[in-house]
């Protein structure tokens, strides 16, 4: 055990940190873009607070097309864009670009689902109190769906964490990359098992943390 840790510990630690770095930075930027997209999807819908059915249909289509692309294809497809944005096409930072691009449409749909759960009556009540559309979004729609958005956050983060295993193959590093290199290419199965254990711990921790946040935030059942 000690021997194993001495030999592979540093690699596993670096892999864990790379995975966390890619996951959290990607999640952050993906929400920065995905949250407004989700709001737009919800509000421009027929019966939404600012109906624009044609825009909604086109935008929804675009989101669906983006979501249909397999991640591996998308990642290779946007390598030129990645190189343009971060200056290089390999490494953990380069892995973030395809992760964000893949996660934005996913998060947009997750956010849309959360916002749809908000009682329509509350939105009508806000309108009757003289709220502007922006105030309805910021003060009613988003606030009322915070617990649901936080539960969505755990799903999004864990999905992105899963994708980091694939970005690993274009040299972005991380635990997935280690599992692939040592377990598949070199038959060092112990290293592979260690990465799997680490991934399980990370996923469980993210899930538990987000659940805790959601439960803390939710004022409905106390």
């Amino acid at each position: 055990m000690n021997e194993f840790l001495a030999k592979f510990g540093p690699i596993l630690l670096k892999g864990t940190l790379d995975t966390l770095y890619m996951t959290f930075v990607s999640t952050f930027f993906a929400y920065l873009l995905g949250l407004p997209c989700g709001v737009l999807l919800t509000t421009t819908k027929k019966g939404g607070i600012h109906p624009a059915p044609r825009f909604n249909a086109i935008f929804g289509w675009f989101i669906n097309i983006m979501r249909s692309l397999p991640f591996l294809i998308l990642m290779i497809f946007i390598i030129p864009a990645t190189r343009f944005i971060v200056g290089k096409a390999i490494g953990a930072t380069a892995g973030i670009v395809p992760l964000v691009v893949a996660a934005v449409p996913f998060i947009a749909r997750m956010v849309e689902t959360s916002l749809e759960e908000v009682d329509h009556g509350v939105i009508e009540a806000a309108r009757c109190m003289g709220a502007t559309n922006l105030q309805i979004i910021m003060r009613a729609l988003l606030v009322e769906s915070i617990p649901s958005l936080l539960r969505g956050l755990s799903i999004s983060t864990i999905t992105i964490l899963g994708y980091t295993a694939i970005t690993g193959t274009i040299g972005a590093g991380g635990l997935g990359d280690i599992a692939y290199r040592f377990g598949y290419q070199r038959y060092e199965t112990n290293v592979m098992y260690a990465t799997i254990v680490l991934l399980i711990v990370l996923v469980s921790a993210i899930q538990a943390f987000c659940n805790l946040l959601a439960r803390r935030a939710d004022k409905r059942n106390r």
Partner: protein
Amino acid sequence: MIEIKNLTKIYGEAEKASGQTVALQNVNLSIEKGDVFGIIGMSGAGKSTLLRCLCMLETPTQGQILLNGQFLGALQGEARRAAHRQMGVVFQGYHLLMQKNVEQNIAFPLTLVPHNKADVQARVQELLQLVGLTDKAKAYPSQLSGGQKQRVALARALATNPAVLLCDEPTSALDSLTTKSVLALLKDINQNLGVTIVIITHEIAVVKSICNKVAVIDESQFVEVGSKKEIFENPKSDITKLLLGKGGSTNE
């Protein structure tokens, strides 16, 4: 104060399979300042539709609504929001913000416009006292009883000092004792604050206890409009007699 002229509301589109529903047909009504106006009718008669047209949540298919001489249908943007602030609405389902506490719910309409925090705080305290919920200021809606939620909704609707208070079935979910206290509160608001009140209801007891005028609505139309006295002493239509429990022909 409020004039409803030839108001018609038809839901749905003729081409669609679901077809059309005529919810209101050529309705006329005039509500004066200081009235406690009861609008009573059976389920599906079109009461909520009328209220939703009044508070601009539905666009009339035909006809006009005037608030203090202003055509509601012509209002846009800030003028529309200003008209909204003139009308407090208490919905059947309360529609409180579930993630905000009582204080924050009541403060909500006040914080939609540029405001001073201390003034808002003072106004909220005043309203909490008015509805008797000072001890529940920090509670969340999920911790309140139906009657308490109703009071929060009432306080919130009154926060901006509206000229008119529109209430959809304000007591239908409450027991008889709580109903009495909510009605007493409404009466108090009308008499002491001079707020005109429109109450939608299906309970004749509500009309009896606080309204001065009544309109009876049946199948999308008003069958009778008048002072409470007139209608209680001399009901003309069958539906009114039924509502009053005075028989009438039931073989329709």
